[in-house]
């Protein structure tokens, strides 16, 4: 049977996504970048299905089947999905109500399915999680406000599945010093970039004034800085792991978490600001209040909060998923569609394994 190039359908899907996103952004904010940012979530609602549809269409034209999609939804995945949805809802509710810190932990199941089964399975899990959380979750877990954020969960699922397919969650213990240095450097650079974006948003919110809120609002000043410290603390914790266990996967986890978090923030912030006036009912509301008090308008405050909270949340989530994967038997992982991308490489497989070039 003739081999069909997978890159072609991936490129077609990404192309369709880019075209629809470009047209959508041009329609919602042709002259005003702020309007374009506000409509980002809405544009994603159209662009993501368009990308997936074109991907499926090209694959069907190439092979007459949809193997790369249907393979992600085997019996094992279908059994894992309800567990993952329940995890998203139960842990998300528990963290929001019990811990009251600017972290959500409501996408652990989504990332777990995405990593084990694939991007589309992860996207479907995230989408269903948010819908069921609103409409069918039993009390006291029901939340009427989760459904509008379903598109955010879809983005998280797609990205997590893609990163896992690239081998980013593969354990790499005992990595050589040079690779560790490069990985650590890239991880620090990613953290610095995220901090820079957050800083710019905050400075824009403060209209070029002093970054630190005035001493009169001590409680909110502290809460704002606690969120910033959480970002730095998580990064430092992973770097310690990186150096002590010499596991380069820590750098990949950090990068995956930051990229997923920043992407999720750009999709979620306009939804939270436009539909709910910036409130989410979680500990993140305090950060928004602090940014508002510092002078930021609502959109800037919500985006700033999302850029601070979401990367932390996603780094923690990826880290937990990595721990779960480490606790699972290798043969159990290997039975899932993306299992081969999650087990450590033997020496003879290193050269041609997925994700090895990123080392």
């Amino acid at each position: 049977m003739r081999a069909t190039p997978a890159w072609l359908r991936v490129a077609a899907g990404l192309g369709a996504f880019a075209v629809v996103a470009f047209i959508g952004l041009a329609l919602v904010g042709s002259r005003d970048p702020q309007a374009a940012l506000d409509g980002f979530g809405l544009v994603m609602v159209a662009a993501i299905p368009a990308g997936v549809a074109i991907y499926a269409l090209v694959e069907y034209r190439q092979t007459g089947r949809l193997d790369s999609i249907t393979r992600q939804f085997g019996t094992r995945t279908l059994v894992l999905m309800p567990v993952a949805i329940a995890l998203d809802i139960v842990l998300g509710s528990a963290v929001a109500s019990a811990l009251k810190i600017p972290v959500y932990l409501d996408s652990l199941g989504t990332v777990l399915v995405a990593v084990l089964a694939g991007p589309l399975a992860g996207a479907a899990t995230g989408f269903l999680s948010n819908l069921l959380w609103t409409y069918l979750a039993p009390a006291p877990f029901a939340s009427p406000y989760a459904a509008p954020f379903a598109v955010v969960a879809v983005v998280v699922g797609l990205l997590a599945g893609t990163f896992a397919r690239w081998g980013w969650l593969r354990p790499r213990p005992g990595t050589s010093g040079r690779r560790l240095l490069v990985g650590g450097g890239l991880a620090v650079a990613a953290m610095a970039l995220m901090a820079l974006v957050a800083l710019r948003v905050w400075l824009a919110g403060a209209e070029g004034g002093d970054l630190a809120p005035s001493a009169d609002e001590t409680a909110f000043t502290i809460l704002g800085w606690v969120a910033m410290l959480l970002v730095a603390g998580t990064g430092l914790g992973l770097l310690v792991l990186l150096l002590r266990q010499r596991d380069l996967a820590a750098a990949y986890i950090l990068a995956a978490g930051v990229i997923t978090g920043v992407s999720a923030a750009f999709v979620a912030a306009p939804i939270a600001a436009g539909l709910f006036g910036g409130v989410t009912g979680s500990g993140a509301d305090f950060v928004i209040a602090a940014l508002r008090q510092a002078g930021a308008d609502l959109q800037q405050a919500v985006l700033g909060q999302s850029l601070i909270s979401d990367p932390v949340d996603k780094v923690v989530t990826y880290f937990l998923v990595y721990l779960i994967l480490g606790a699972m038997a290798t043969r159990t992982k290997a039975r899932f569609p993306q299992g081969p991308h999650l087990v450590p490489l033997t020496d003879e497989k290193v050269d041609d394994a997925p994700g090895v070039r990123e080392d």
């Binding site: 329609l27 919602v28 019996t75 094992r76 279908l78 059994v79 894992l80 999905m81 309800p82 567990v83 949805i85 329940a86 995890l87 809802i89 139960v90 842990l91 528990a94 811990l99 810190i101 972290v103 932990l105 652990l108 777990l112 269903l128 999680s129 069921l132 609103t134 409409y135 069918l136 979750a137 039993p138 009390a139 006291p140 877990f141 029901a142 939340s143 009427p144 406000y145 509008p148 606690v226 959480l230 539909l275 709910f276 006036g277 910036g278 409130v279 989410t280 009912g281 509301d285 209040a289 508002r292 008090q293 930021a296 308008d297 609502l298 937990l320 721990l323 779960i324 699972m328 159990t332």
Partner: protein, 252 residues
């Protein structure tokens, strides 16, 4: 004995609302939520609330419990909305108050629509209806099992929390300890649930879960032409609302 406010109402209850196909009730709830997100002004939102939440709630004889639960659910977010937009707003207080009023109204409508649907629909009935209307067996399996899994997982989480507290975990401690507590709580809960997946997969495969073809729905829903027309009207209305919003023709 008083009935708990969170309890679902039996689908056999004698009201015209309960007699509707669960899919119709889902479309009304989803449609109300989307319309609440698209509409902006207080007047339009109030009209939507009366039409899409209060009237059906009265029809279902659920006015008191639904309103009570909707307000309970909306209260935390409503308070946050008022605090953020009025007390911590750098703009004028009236602007912040107006925005807060819109947000609070929207939250109450969304909560009301969700609570009405939740209280009057049994998940098994909805899944049966979705299956009857052609939804894939695999998706219905995921929905049904996810809903059933939530209380089981919550029970497991409670057991893990109690066990960790017995080992010294303090959920009221400082930020750092609470942050570390995430791992102590989540890991055993998740690992236990994931460990069951393998056994359940084998059990399903031995019962021909992946067999192609439609399954027989044991409790077919009470659908009708009028309900079908109503559902399509809601869909068409929402499309019109989206177009009006994008083109700027919507008055509020």
């Amino acid at each position: 004995m008083t009935r708990p406010v969170f309890a679902r109402t039996e689908s056999t209850a004698a009201s015209r609302w309960h007699g509707l196909d669960p899919l119709t009730r889902l479309v009304v709830a989803l449609g109300t939520m989307i319309a609440a997100l698209l509409l902006g002004g207080v007047v339009c939102l109030a009209a939507l609330g009366i039409l899409a939440v209060l009237l059906p709630t009265a029809m279902a004889h659920e006015l008191r419990p639904v309103l009570r639960l909707a307000v309970l659910l909306a209260l935390p977010l409503g308070v946050s909305a008022v605090l953020i937009n009025v007390l911590f707003s750098p703009g004028t207080t009236s602007e912040g108050a107006w925005l807060a009023a819109v947000v609070v109204l929207r939250i109450v409508i969304m909560a009301g629509a969700t609570v009405l649907f939740y209280r009057t629909t049994i998940p098994a009935d909805l899944v049966g209806s979705l299956q009857h209307h052609g939804l894939s067996n695999r998706i219905t399996f995921v929905i049904h099992n996810a809903v059933a899994m939530i209380p089981r997982l919550a029970e497991r989480a409670r057991e893990v929390t109690a066990a960790q507290r017995a080992r010294g975990f303090d959920s009221e401690a400082g930020l750092l300890r609470r942050g570390r507590g995430i791992i102590a709580l989540a890991a055993p809960t998740v690992l236990g649930a994931v460990a069951e997946v393998e056994a359940r997969t084998l059990a399903l495969e031995t019962r021909a879960f992946t067999r192609p073809g439609r399954v027989t729905v044991l409790r077919p829903p009470h659908d009708s032409n009028l309900q079908r027309a109503g559902r399509w009207s809601i869909v068409v209305g929402l499309v019109a609302l989206v177009i009006a919003r994008v083109t700027g023709l919507l008055p509020c």
